[in-house]
């Protein structure tokens, strides 16, 4: 069942320098019981997409200028903000990319979770405390009963991140938007958190939008993947297809840049050039200045090709079939 459907979302920033089309016509969906990975170049609009879903884009300068975001069939974009507030934090929870800045430094972490629990579930102090301690141990915080009274600055980066994860999961949401939830965590704690998400997906049908740069995490936890570039979705595929038959030249470049693919100490492969500034995205395919397969056709909007079951790519010259032999050692 479809939990979230995004149709042609556009979120732009109106700055002194000009209009930044940071998210420019994005569509994808997340099913119940599915972990959708979202990957893409830094600055391509992943966090802006996530913040658009909850309508927490700083306005001005930002604004959702077009599109629909259906949650359970209800459009979040046009919904009155009071109705959306009831959904936020309860049905849809978010883990922010920079946990350090989303915790309030003057309250203990316990006070911050208690507020969420009393707001959405109406728990009293004792019940809330018990729930917090339970959540803290679920996300692997040691001495949870003691950590409840700690201030954010007394915790390491990874501990704050786990507090944020506990806060997001404490009201048993149906959709979790997780923006780089495990980057500040070592691999053993990361494995623990990812196991928890997989378990909630399988047992409770949790839907997850997992934004991450770590393709290892994608390979191991995601069901499907959306690849973004410069404010657009360029490829969508199930996780096996994405790694076995990457089709968009950007996706291929991304997989080739992995350090796993190179000899230690050697130069890493990169994609030539830099991400274009949103102030002057090229016309047509926004990747064309950096693409080895580009032709004159690429200055026109690339068409959407279906290259496999549920595997779509937006490109004039996608890699197809066994054309691209991708070998990661």
């Amino acid at each position: 069942m479809k939990l979230l459907e995004i149709h042609d979302l556009k979120t732009h920033f109106f700055t002194d320098a000009g209009i930044l089309p940071s998210v420019d016509g994005i569509s994808f969906e997340i099913n119940q019981g599915e972990i959708l990975g979202v990957v893409g170049e830094s600055g391509c609009g992943k966090s802006v997409t996530a913040m658009s879903i909850l309508r927490i884009i700083p306005e001005p300068p930002g604004r959702i200028v077009a599109g629909r975001i259906l949650f359970d069939g209800h459009d979040l974009v046009s919904m009155p903000i009071e109705a959306l507030r009831k959904i936020r934090g309860r049905d849809i929870a978010m883990i922010f990319q920079e946990p350090m800045t989303s915790l309030n430094p003057v309250y203990t972490v316990g006070e911050q979770l208690r507020e969420v629990l009393s707001l959405h579930l109406g728990l009293d102090d004792d019940a809330a405390r018990a729930r917090i301690v339970e959540m803290f141990s679920l996300v692997g915080i040691s001495e949870p009963a003691m950590r409840v009274d700690a201030y954010p600055h007394q915790m390491s980066g990874g501990m704050k991140q786990r507090v944020m994860i506990a806060m997001a999961l404490c009201c048993s949401p149906r959709l979790l938007i997780a923006d780089e939830p495990t980057t500040a965590l070592d691999v053993t704690v990361q494995a623990q958190i990812l196991n928890l998400l997989v378990k909630l997906r399988d047992e409770r049908g949790l839907g997850v939008m997992l934004i991450t740069h770590d393709l290892g995490v994608v390979a191991e936890t995601c069901d499907r993947v959306v690849v973004m570039y410069a404010g657009r979705v360029v490829e969508t595929a199930c996780v096996q297809d994405l790694f076995a038959h990457p089709s968009h030249p950007y996706t291929v470049g991304l997989l080739q840049s992995l350090p796993d693919a190179a000899k230690p100490g050697s130069r890493l492969q990169t994609i030539p050039g830099n991400v274009p500034s949103p102030l002057n995205f090229p016309t047509g395919c926004r990747f064309r200045d950096r693409c080895s397969r580009a032709s004159s056709a690429c200055s026109l909007e690339p068409p959407l090709h279906v290259v496999g079951d549920g595997h779509e790519v937006r490109c004039h010259h996608p890699y197809q079939g066994g054309e691209h032999e991708h070998a990661i050692a």
Binding site: F13, T15, A17, G40, E41, S42, G43, K46, V48, Q97, E98, M100, T101, S137, S142, E143, M146, Q154, M155, S156, G157, Q161, R162, E180, T183, A184, L185, D186, V187, T188, V189, Q190, A191, Q192, N195, H213, G216, V218, A219, E220, T221, V239, Q240, F243, L254, S257, L258, P259, A262, P264, G265, R267, L268, Q269, T270, I271, N274, V275, S277, I328
Partner: protein, 327 residues
């Protein structure tokens, strides 16, 4: 053998833990517990370990952003443990930090140009007339557009901010850069670009790096040596290839086993985990801190704090299994 660029001896850093209404001190976190490390000119040393084990605290104490509670820090042979005032400021130029939390470390009221340019002018590395050109070059080197100079930190994505932090650190042409999760918020192609840039600077200017990172594929690629920490203590130090091929400490072994691989072959593999609870750094387990979770622990691990033992001249490990057997 030449002198290390940075020589840290028995470094200690404790934090008080307060609790209750009166916020009385009820204990101490031994965030850094007698750590000794050397970084040679032109070397990249990686520092890895469980979240909360003290990596950031160790790095910050080494560059004097935090005061040590014990031990000595030598930079180019000079004791800087208690350096203050102007002397400290002059020395700082040579030891730059890329912070784990880019947003909190960038002044929100300053433009990118002011953030990067002001220290360059202050330290005489640029003049009012050429600072703009130098900053534009730097931005391009870290993969950002030069027209970003007039924008403010909040206008950027997480990875863009991280690169602003990198540009700021590199602007002062330091000899040592502490990279605390410096590339973790970057997608792999930009990450590759930054890693290549750091390698070029190392080759050209013999720069040294202390590289704190959770991503072991990246560590394996960039580091010459790796130091592994567990609950404030070093448990293993070895050349990178040797550590990945022949990890001796059970914690290092668990860490390597949990490393996610970009192999879609078996995406449903269940993760290897260390058993047991993550212990509290306030009252860490006795003996070897790992013993309650260690798959090969024996009785004496509960009581004996194993010393660091040399496996060979460049590989040390702290585990009872490696202690010489006495008759």
């Amino acid at each position: 053998m030449n002198t290390p660029l940075l020589d840290v001896q028995d470094l200690k850093k404790y934090f008080p833990v307060r609790s209750g209404l009166l916020r009385r001190v009820v204990g101490h976190v031994h965030a850094v517990d007698e750590i000794s490390l050397q970084i040679m000119p032109g070397e990249t040393l990686a520092l890895v370990g469980e979240s909360g084990c003290g990596k950031t605290t160790a790095a910050r104490t080494m560059v004097r952003l935090l005061d040590a509670d014990g031990g000595r820090i030598l930079f180019r042979g000079q004791d800087i443990t208690h350096l203050e005032g102007d002397a400290l400021r002059r020395m700082r130029r040579h030891m730059q930090v890329v912070f784990q939390d880019p947003y909190a470390s960038l002044n929100p009221r300053r433009t990118v140009g002011e953030i990067i340019g002001a220290p360059m002018v202050l330290h005489g590395l640029a003049t009012a007339s050429d600072v703009n050109d130098k900053m534009r070059d730097l931005l391009v080197q870290v993969g950002l557009q030069p027209d970003y100079l007039s924008r403010y930190p909040h206008e950027f994505s997480g990875g863009q901010r991280q690169r602003i932090g990198i540009a700021r650190a590199l602007a002062l042409e330091p000899e040592l850069v502490m990279c605390d999760e410096a590339v973790s918020a970057l997608d792999v192609s930009v990450q590759a670009q930054i890693i290549n840039l750091l390698a070029d600077l190392q080759a050209g200017r013999s720069m040294s790096y202390l590289f704190v990172a959770h991503n072991l594929s990246v560590v394996r690629h960039v580091a010459h040596r790796v130091a592994v920490m567990y609950l404030g203590r070093l448990v293993e130090v070895a050349p990178t290839a040797e550590l990945f091929e022949d990890p001796r400490h059970p914690y290092t072994q668990a860490l390597l086993a949990a490393m996610p691989k970009a192999h879609p072959v078996r995406p449903r593999r269940s993760f290897v985990r260390l058993g047991g609870e993550v212990p509290s750094p306030v009252s860490p387990p006795s003996g070897c801190h790992l013993h309650p979770r260690c798959p090969v622990a024996e009785a004496r691990c509960k009581t004996l704090i194993p010393a660091l033992v040399a496996v060979n001249s460049c590989h040390i490990v702290r585990c009872v299994k490696e202690l010489p057997r006495t008759a």
